[in-house]
Symmetry: C2
Subunit: 107 residues, 2 copies
């Protein structure tokens, strides 16, 4: 069948999982790290930097945008991507809430 049965889970569970899923690819981790290492917004040095085709990078950027982690701004004929710090902190908090709540009492 292959379809994730989202209907049987809570919205919170689906959202959390979706967020983890987007971060669950090394290219997307690398993109976030690279953007954060630049002092200014970078554009698509990413293609050269990461070593994947332009179409592939564009796709990964789209997924990062889909959970609100990246903001893209048009700058002439190129795009300036940067991290959405508010969303970033929000997700980190959400994630820590999950980790802290999910504590085991057994074994």
């Amino acid at each position: 069948m292959g379809i994730t049965k989202t209907q049987i889970f809570t919205e919170q569970q689906n959202d959390l999982a979706q967020f983890f899923k987007v971060l669950g690819h090394p290219a997307r981790v690398a993109i976030l790290q690279y953007i954060s290492n630049q002092n200014a917004c970078i554009c698509n040095d990413l293609v050269e930097e990461i070593g994947l085709a332009q179409a592939t990078i564009s796709q990964h950027l789209k997924e990062l945008k889909s959970i609100g982690l990246l903001i893209g701004e048009v700058e002439g004929k190129s795009m300036c991507y940067c991290i959405n710090v508010n969303r970033w902190v929000e997700l980190q908090n959400q994630l820590n809430a999950f980790f802290n709540k999910t504590k085991s009492n057994c074994c």
Copy 2:
């Protein structure tokens, strides 16, 4: 082509992504939450609780074990799964390190 090009990323990036990936499914989030809500180690009430086939649950448990988050102990003819608290905290720290390091200076 469909293969993730792990060779072009660092081990740290691959490990982090792998960890996120495993948590990136609502069933696995739900499993962890359910286990943590029980005062004692639970076994496979999970099948009834979550609403997926036994084979599917078993598969998800295997993935959670693969990153060290779960420990399984034989208990008669059933299995007692519980969260590996040390690993849990370790992953939470790793994750926070990633979030804290990856801070944007731009926009």
